[in-house]
């Protein structure tokens, strides 16, 4: 068993097998996830799509190690995946650069290297000259980019032995206005291509999922399990529109099935 897990870890960034999660015990228990099977290949961009309350955050928390599955197995190839939340969650007393450095500090990186690395990462998210700004002096989009730089710092640090890095993102752009979100989606793709990180990206927005992901995984609600998946990498614009249409229809079906029940 362990042996198979280890070999599979060589070919996947993360593999979930039969993952269950319920909150509470006895009659009041809520089953949030039931039998989720999912794997993400190294360097792959997977979008996890589902209605509100279907267990997307729960699933991401399990992979992030913030919570334990009630049953099932999660095999990670990185020791510690990087996480980006819906809110930027920057330390308000630290400058942008120090916030990025914090990830490296916890990883035991020396000070001069920390500064240098943080500078590079801020450059990568196009915040080059703004390292000395505090979070309250930045716009929502800029804060989210600092959070991305911090996540990248910890993603790369978590996989220094050459194993593929994994970035978990929980609706990171949903609190932003449409224009900023559009620009940041483009930036995320650019950064992803240049860093070779696997991404598990949670969203409830079908367009976002199709634009960003190579693969879209639809999750049902209460309890959450994988309903269907679509390969959406490298689509022609017309095929992309069709894919959005199709996934939208499936999502609606999943949601309406709850009204009947």
């Amino acid at each position: 068993m362990t042996a198979t897990l280890e070999t599979s870890a060589m070919t996947t960034a993360v593999r979930l097998t039969g993952v269950h999660k319920s909150f509470g015990a006895g009659r009041g228990a809520v089953s949030a996830l039931e039998g989720v099977d999912l794997s993400v290949a190294p360097g792959e961009f997977v979008c996890l799509l589902g209605a509100s309350g279907c267990g997307k955050t729960t699933l991401l928390n399990l992979v992030a190690g913030l919570d334990r599955p009630t049953a099932g197995d999660i095999a990670l190839s990185t020791s510690r995946p990087a996480v980006m939340f819906q809110e930027a969650a920057l330390m308000p007393w630290l400058t942008a650069s120090r916030n990025v450095e914090l990830a490296l500090r916890f990883a035991g990186v020396r000070r001069t290297q920390r500064r240098e690395r943080a500078g590079e990462l801020l450059e990568l998210v196009r915040l080059g000259g703004l390292g000395d700004k505090r979070p309250h002096e930045l716009s929502g989009g800029m804060r989210q980019r600092v959070a991305l730089a911090r996540a990248l710092a910890s993603a790369v640090q978590g996989s220094q032995d050459g194993s593929p890095a994994l970035l978990l993102m929980d609706e990171p752009f949903s609190a932003l206005d449409a224009i900023t979100r559009d620009v940041l989606q483009g930036e995320l793709l650019r950064v992803w291509r240049s860093t070779n990180t696997a991404v598990l990206f949670v969203t409830h927005d079908v367009r976002e999922a199709v634009r960003l992901g190579q693969r879209v995984v639809l999750l049902s609600s209460r309890p959450g399990r994988v309903v269907r998946e679509w390969q959406v990498g490298d689509l022609e614009p017309s095929a992309e529109a069709a894919a959005i249409e199709e996934i939208n229809t499936s999502l609606r079906e999943v949601i309406s099935s709850h009204a009947a029940a």
């Binding site: 308000p92 500090r105 990883a107 309250h136 910890s154």
Partner: protein
């Protein structure tokens, strides 16, 4: 990731730079001007001048006998006399150094106590309510007990000061820790912080505003408790502090001395607040963009 990058990288960068410029919160950096300084200083000065004018008028109208309401000039005379003889400095030093020492001890005890109460559930359940209760107990109430335990010695004074300051400091830290947004420690966890690293780099800095509020209140309580202790427990062994100076004035029915002592006690309280706590609080809140008030 469907569309090939038809939009070139540079134009995306330009759009983003534009968004950043439009979206960045505008910072109102208010520079020092004499006009603004005057606007800050003038109202309290005016209020004090008015107060003294009313006092002078009441005294001149002789509503109350001289030994109940002395002239402002008589009080001023007492203060300048004591400054010239150096008594004022001795008295101030006596009280202030004791308050500072007592407060420092209060910080040393209150800080770990607050940390434990905030983070260990059973300790919070056991002494949390007691700690909040003690905060509303006037620490003068401890003076008789302390005198019986320690006699009229410095120990009595320090004990009362500690009982005044420790609950405020500990409760301030507990409140500060309770108010940390839960997402911040979670960020620490996903970044791989150890327990100690998380406490040092996330919990303590995040709790700083609440802790500082606790320290400020702790100081105010230290100072009050010290004055109460000095008024009640007078002995040569303790030396003459501001409280003893005040009590001496009362014994001699020397109203100018009494008012001068009250004035000095107030002066120390306001002085420490303005010179120590206000700037500290300002810089901490400013760094976090919370400086709405000032």
């Amino acid at each position: 990731m469907p569309q090939p990058d038809v939009v070139d990288d540079e134009s995306v960068a330009a759009v983003e730079a534009g968004l950043d410029a439009l979206d960045t919160p505008t910072e109102r950096r208010r520079r020092f001007t004499w006009r603004r300084a005057a606007a800050v200083v003038a109202p309290p000065v005016l209020a004090i001048v008015l107060l003294i004018a009313v006092w002078q008028a009441l005294w001149a109208a002789a509503f109350w006998p001289e030994y109940q309401l002395p002239a402002p000039a008589a009080v001023w005379q007492v203060i300048t006399d004591n400054v010239q003889t150096g008594v004022a400095f001795d008295v101030l030093w006596n009280s202030v150094h004791r308050a500072v020492l007592g407060f420092a001890a209060g910080v040393l005890i209150g800080t770990p106590l607050g940390l434990i109460v905030a983070k260990v559930r059973i300790v919070r359940a056991a002494i949390g309510p007691l700690l909040s209760g003690l905060q509303s107990l006037p620490s003068v109430a401890w003076v008789p007990a302390a005198v019986l335990w320690f006699g009229v010695t410095p120990s009595t004074v320090y004990f009362v000061v500690l009982m005044g300051s420790v609950p405020s400091i500990a409760n301030g830290l507990v409140a500060g820790i309770d108010q940390i947004p839960p997402i911040l420690p979670r960020v620490g966890t996903v970044l791989g912080a150890s327990r100690l690293g998380s406490a040092r780099h996330i919990l303590l800095p995040a709790a700083l505003p609440g802790y500082l509020a606790g320290l400020k209140q702790g100081w105010a309580f230290s100072w009050r408790s010290l004055m109460a202790a000095e008024i009640i427990a007078v002995s040569p062994q303790l030396g003459k502090g501001l409280g003893a100076f005040l009590e001496e004035g009362r014994n001699l029915s020397d109203m100018p001395t009494v008012i001068a002592a009250i004035f000095l006690i107030l002066l120390v309280g306001i002085g420490i607040e303005l010179l120590v706590f206000r700037p500290l609080e300002r810089s901490v809140l400013r760094a976090r963009g919370l400086s709405g008030a000032f």
